[in-house]
Amino acid sequence: MQIVSQLLFLVALVFAIYLFSRRVLGIRRNILRGRDAALNDQPGVRWKNVLLLAFGQKKMFRNPLVAVLHFFVYAGFLIINLEILEIMIDGLAGTHRIFAPVMGSLYGVLIGCFEILAVLVAVSCAVFLIRRNIIKLKRFISKDLDGWPRSDANYILITEIALMLLFLTMNTADQVLQSRGAEHYLLTGNFWITGHLTPLFSGLSDGTLMALERGAWWLHILGVLAFLNYLPFSKHLHIVLAFPNAYYASLLPKGRMENMPAIQQEVLYAMQPELAPAAPATDNVPKFGAKDVYDLTWKNLLDAYSCTECGRCSAACPATQTGKALSPRLIMMKTRDRAEEVGRHNGTPDNKTLLRDYITEEELRACTSCNACVEECPVSINPLHIILQMRRHLVMEESSAPQEWNMMFSNIENNMAPWKFSPDDRDAWTR
């Protein structure tokens, strides 16, 4: 019987890890479909960003109350995973609480800490559910999240609460069994939280308690493995990708737009023809700006997969706040959707593009390039970079611009100013 359970555990574990790795490699492939971008300079500053922005969740603390709750869930999730290590060893070796005898009284302290965290995680998740579904914060009821994204968020919170409750149930049943001297249930001393919950189960028989303890143990670990595989299909992937995303975030001033060396060269040759090479270096005409995910950088696509759809960007966006079609959160969600779609048919052309099939011109035109979205994002996403690259495509590949912008272009070209004034009057203010 014991060996069957160990084998089942092994099969579940291997299967879960196999599925997870396959999905992770798929996402990696999707991200690397983006164009190259060198983001490896100044490793010292980049590691500092990982520490402050990802580990320290610095941006979250712009709203301290929510930040503390979020920190409980995050710390709880990370630290309670130490307990998973014991569960794994127990499951594979057929032991029960293998660390208990080794660690002695320290074991009770450790589990006690886990239990406190488990309660904090469950309470915080409950508060988050209330914020989303009862208080209905504006950014959570936005139409951006209609359909799957809204359910996704709720599933995650409910699963986390369920996992924590299973952990606490398991420990409570375990202690009642210990007090009755049941076989296999070695004495650990009272745990800090569940030690007080034992009266709840005192009326149950040994058999029921064992079923409860084993059931909670199995559901907990199977739940964790299932959640592991849900993660990369969900917005919750941010718990992993926030770290690389903080590392690779741009270190330049936010106001600086990415240069286009190809165009810089072309302008140089136009101005100083003597510098131009006799024959064009290559026959491929470079593409300007971004029409599809292939034209974006891999960092833009990593951004898209890191997005947890919290909507802080859109809540701060002047366009979103004044009812325009643009929402930076949707820009990221649509980019991810498109990257997924391209991944599903392995990059074979499908007559669709990120531009128009996902993101409309109206959305792109509404952006004021104010950087509020970039400033707000807790996981270092830059929606503005995507918007500006797509604008470049519209103007330079399709000559698609509002009439007023075309006038502005021609004024700059002919009068050296965006308005139709004579360049001779540029110093008229001195008179």
Binding site: N259, A316, T322, S369, E375, V395, I412, A417, P418, R426
Partner: protein, 254 residues
């Protein structure tokens, strides 16, 4: 600049006026106010005059990189020919482009925004303010422009300059890195807004007015236009004035 150059002299600083500062009637007043401060404090400065061109900022933000690169190429040629080292400008868009985008293209200058420049002059004691100036005790709110604030992290210098006016500085809820855009950036200044429930400058205008301030201090000629319209829309243009920080200082120089 050509005159200094012909005489073999180097002015302390080049004042980059910008298109709005040169042509927009309201912004010309800012330009004159800032030039007056430079004059009164005895700072030798030059302008490029007819040789100055648009930095290319709106073209680049709209997506027209060719035009941007052409403008940048020409401006950098002119600036480098004169051996310009230090530039001050009253426009945060010009400031951002000259400071952050020209170096990659071969234009390396020490670029400061006029509010930072004013703050330095105050710190050095070169600007002396009148006692009991025109803003003494008045409520002032300051609008962070996106290209000075978030884009370049300059939040304190303009506020320090305003402090010398002995006024009461009241902040809007959305200020500093949370500041709401005026609606002009990203080349929006040059086109009709996309359809929505309201205009960005109306939203910002209302927020500024709701602080109860009688003056909205700005640091950008485009914010100036947008906020002035926002205040007009609310019908409060009699009681609430939108002024550039340079104008406020110029009015109160000793």
């Amino acid at each position: 600049m050509a005159e200094y150059f012909a005489n073999g002299e180097t002015p302390e600083v080049l004042f980059w006026v910008g298109c709005a500062g040169s042509f927009d009637q309201r912004a010309q007043k800012i330009t004159r106010a800032f030039a007056e401060i430079l004059d009164k404090t005895g700072i030798s400065f030059a302008i490029l005059g007819k040789e100055e061109s648009c930095t290319g900022d709106p073209a680049r933000r709209a997506g027209n990189e060719f035009l941007f690169q052409m403008m940048a190429y020409n401006n950098i040629q002119v600036l480098n020919n004169y051996g310009v080292k230090k530039i001050v400008t009253a426009c945060p868009h010009c400031f951002n482009t000259l400071r952050n985008e020209y170096p990659e293209l071969g234009g390396h200058y020490d670029v400061v925004h006029h509010t930072t420049f004013l703050q330095q002059l105050i710190d050095q004691g070169r600007i002396k303010m009148k006692e009991g100036g025109t803003f003494k005790g008045k409520k002032i709110t300051y609008h962070d422009s996106c290209y000075l604030g978030r884009a370049n992290g300059v939040y304190e210098a303009p506020r320090q300059v305003l402090e010398t006016l002995d006024a009461e500085l009241v902040e809007m809820k959305r200020c500093r890195s949370k500041g709401l855009c005026c609606g002009a950036g990203g080349a929006q200044m040059f086109k009709e807004e996309e359809k929505g429930s309201t205009r960005v400058n109306f939203e910002r205008g209302h927020e500024a007015i709701s602080t109860g301030a009688s003056v909205i201090a700005s640091n950008c000629p485009f914010c100036m236009t947008m906020l002035t319209d926002g205040v007009k829309e609310a019908g409060r243009e009699e009681e609430v004035k939108v002024l550039d920080i340079a104008e406020m200082i110029a009015q109160n120089l000793q």
